[in-house]
């Protein structure tokens, strides 16, 4: 059975700061990383392979520099990496991204499981996983926090909800998205790093995947960004310093003026 992990290269938002004067993003030193949730997807794919065998393919759509992220996936233990790269893919929203990824997956053989992260930390949509599933007409389960059992036929897993978790069972092939709780990603081994250096990153373009250009990239995206802006700053609040008895009293008094009474069961 073959396992596909979809990974996305994203700007490391740890380093994205806002310039308070111009209210713009400071990009200096913003590195590209593999979307953190996708690291858990890679790890889980490797664990499944170690348990039931198979091949792990890392798949990503993006500009040529994404090859670097795919090499990282290989250094961790992925067997193969495919980069979907073409100017025609640029500007894709989640609809066009999922169509493109689905088109690539359709080209592969004997796929039992497709793993993705819960969401990407740049777009924060989480729509690509279910989107790929729908394009491929496969079932999907999002927000998996644990795989209890998996075989070439079937998966039993735990899906995190707002107030607990669901236990679910489904037949393969299926698409799943994972949350951070699922595992602790490994670090690349020395041998992995060597393998990554030498590995061939397979690249596919739009023509190879065989999707018409009207359906991909900006052209194939039903949504369009009208504008991007930085959110208004909440504008420094009131800060109390001094003896706890006083600062706490001042805080509670302020809140009360604002109509909020902590501890009084409900606020007005």
């Amino acid at each position: 059975m073959n396992i596909v992990v979809c990974i996305k290269q994203v700007p490391d938002t740890t380093n994205i700061r806002i310039n308070p004067e111009t209210n713009t993003l400071i990009r200096e030193g913003v590195e590209s990383i593999i979307n953190p949730f996708d690291m858990y997807a890679i790890e889980e794919a490797l664990r499944i392979k170690e348990k039931i065998g198979g091949k792990v393919t890392a798949l990503s759509m993006g500009p040529p520099q994404v090859a670097e992220a795919l090499r990282t996936a290989i250094s961790l233990g992925a067997d193969e990496a495919i980069l979907l790269t073409d100017r025609a893919f640029a500007g894709a929203d989640t609809w066009a991204t999922s169509l493109t990824l689905a088109g690539a997956i359709r080209k592969m053989e004997n796929i039992g499981l497709i793993l993705m992260g819960k969401q990407a930390i740049d777009g924060d949509t989480g729509q690509v996983g279910p989107g790929v599933a729908e394009h491929l007409r496969l079932p999907h389960i999002t927000d998996i926090r644990k795989i209890e059992e998996i075989s070439e036929k079937e998966i039993v897993c735990e899906r995190l909800l707002e107030d607990g978790y669901l236990r679910l069972k489904a037949q393969l092939p299926i698409i799943i998205t994972v949350v951070k709780e699922i595992n602790e990603p490994r670090l690349p081994s020395l041998r992995g790093k060597m393998a990554a250096k030498k590995a061939e990153i397979i690249t596919w373009n739009a023509e190879y995947i065989g999707i018409p250009v009207e359906e991909i990239g900006l052209n194939g995206s039903p949504t369009q960004v009208l504008k991007i802006f930085t959110p208004p700053k909440p504008g420094g609040g009131k800060v109390f310093e001094g003896e706890p008895a006083d600062t706490v009293a001042q805080l509670l008094a302020e809140l009360k003026t604002g109509g909020i009474q902590l501890g009084a069961a409900k606020e007005e």
């Binding site: 994205i16 806002i18 111009t22 713009t24 993003l25 990009r27 500009p63 040529p64 100017r87 025609a88 640029a90 500007g91 609809w95 999922s98 930390i121 924060d124 989480g126 729509q127 690509v128 996983g129 279910p130 989107g131 729908e134 394009h135 999907h140 927000d143 995190l160 909800l161 707002e162 107030d163 978790y165 669901l166 236990r167 679910l168 069972k169 951070k180 709780e181 009207e214 990239g217 900006l218 052209n219 039903p222 949504t223 504008k227 991007i228 930085t230 959110p231 909440p234 609040g237 009131k238 800060v239 109390f240 310093e241 706890p244 008895a245 706490v248 805080l251 302020e254 902590l262 069961a265």
Partner: protein, 394 residues
């Protein structure tokens, strides 16, 4: 072909575009913006930032969908255990506001097992038509099946707008529906308005962990779909004389489920659901030792709130992951958020910044949490928190 272009005679080399580009894809060459196409994702940030309209993105549009036959606003009525999810009342509130600009009916889609009562309840909030499909195979969590049924109903109903909750279920179901209907879906919106000129839905949402906001349009496809972030919009109030009616959609086929629900295990030790909570008290690394989680939990108890945590505390294993607030945890929007010993790293802020009132307790007056806090107490939390509990309980 679509593409991005710098109109050279309009560009003055002001670098405004370079500053806003989240992908570092713009270079200045001899006072002219040059787009690095290997990095550019056509996100459009630069187009908006350019004061001289010197950057354009062109989009080749294929065959046009006839969008004029779509009308009305439809709401996905999420529910569980026979109870309507509170986010639905918020979305109906949004729909009623949008109706003022569009003057078109509000529809709802209610699918599930025994959902007549939910459909009737929904009408009380001012929905004009609740389309109902009942079937045992459409039970709680059967999103896979529900997606097919919802898409089929939408094809009949043809609303111009379709909204669902930005909940785990909503954010799993709506993307499938959007792909099926070949239309756009905007995730986790915090603001929805109608463009008075074009009557398009302007969908505003945070991205990049809340560092930027984007306004998104779906101009050429219908319905315009969005999920709506929970607890941002006010809930609709019941109307005095509900006028709506129930429309049975029994003829819509229900496919065979592909996912079997083995059971639901509720969160232990959490009396209040973090995402629904009106008050959240969160512990950060400042609590210094796992034994001090109890102190923060005690404060949470005293104010009738839920316990949250920063990633540092969750990674240390002091509090379970389900309590983690932030980019890799949960996004919350309570009325009051109390951060105890949390520095306010950007990833943490991403999950709680839009809380109505943020209160920070931190001994470091320079901690970034104070930049977003409405109220702050500079001090040792081991003194402040017990004092707070004492004064609240007084």
């Amino acid at each position: 072909m679509s593409g991005i272009q710098v109109i050279e005679h309009k560009c003055v080399g002001c670098k405004k575009c370079q500053k806003v580009c989240p992908y570092d894809a713009i270079d200045m060459v001899e006072k002219l913006a040059v787009i690095n196409l290997d990095k550019c994702t056509l996100c459009g940030a630069c187009v908006d930032a350019c004061p001289f309209e010197a950057i354009v993105i062109e989009k080749a549009t294929g065959e046009k969908q006839d969008i004029s036959s779509y009308s009305g606003i439809c709401v996905y009525a999420e529910h569980r255990n026979g109870v309507l999810s509170s986010v639905v009342k918020e979305i109906i509130g949004v729909a009623r506001r949008l109706k003022e600009s569009l003057d078109k009916p509000i529809y709802a889609i209610v699918v599930g097992q025994d959902v007549k009562r939910i459909a009737e309840e929904i009408l009380e909030y001012g929905v004009d038509e609740a389309w109902v499909r009942e079937d045992p195979r459409l039970g709680d969590y059967a999103e896979d099946v529900q997606a097919d049924v919802v898409a089929a109903i939408l094809q009949e109903m043809r609303p111009e707008i379709f909204l669902g909750g930005g909940t785990i279920i909503g954010r799993s179901l709506l993307p499938r529906v959007a792909v099926r209907l070949k239309t756009g879906l905007t995730a986790d919106c915090t603001e929805l308005t109608i463009d008075e000129e074009t009557k398009n839905l302007r969908q505003t949402r945070p991205a990049f962990g809340g560092n930027i906001m984007a306004t998104i349009l779906t101009t050429a496809h219908r319905p315009q779909m969005a999920t709506v972030r929970h607890k941002v919009m006010p809930e609709a109030k019941k109307v005095e004389k509900p006028q709506g009616r129930i429309v049975p959609a029994d003829y819509i086929p229900v496919p065979k489920p592909r996912i079997e629900v083995l059971g639901f295990v509720p969160e232990e030790g959490q009396t209040v659901n973090l995402v629904e909570a009106d008050i959240i008290v969160s512990a950060g690394r400042g609590i210094q030792d796992p034994k001090n989680v109890g102190l923060i939990a005690k404060l949470a108890n005293a104010v009738g709130g839920a316990l949250g945590a920063s990633r540092a505390v969750v990674d240390a294993g002091w509090v379970p992951y389900s309590h983690q607030v932030g980019q890799t945890g949960k996004t919350v929007n309570p009325v009051v958020y109390i951060a105890c010993g949390i520095s306010g790293a950007i990833q943490h802020l991403a999950g709680m910044k839009s809380s109505d009132i943020i209160i920070a307790i931190n001994r470091d007056a320079n901690a970034p949490i104070f930049d977003v806090a409405h109220y702050g107490i500079v001090g040792n939390l081991f003194d402040v928190v017990p004092e707070l509990i004492k004064q609240i309980e007084k």
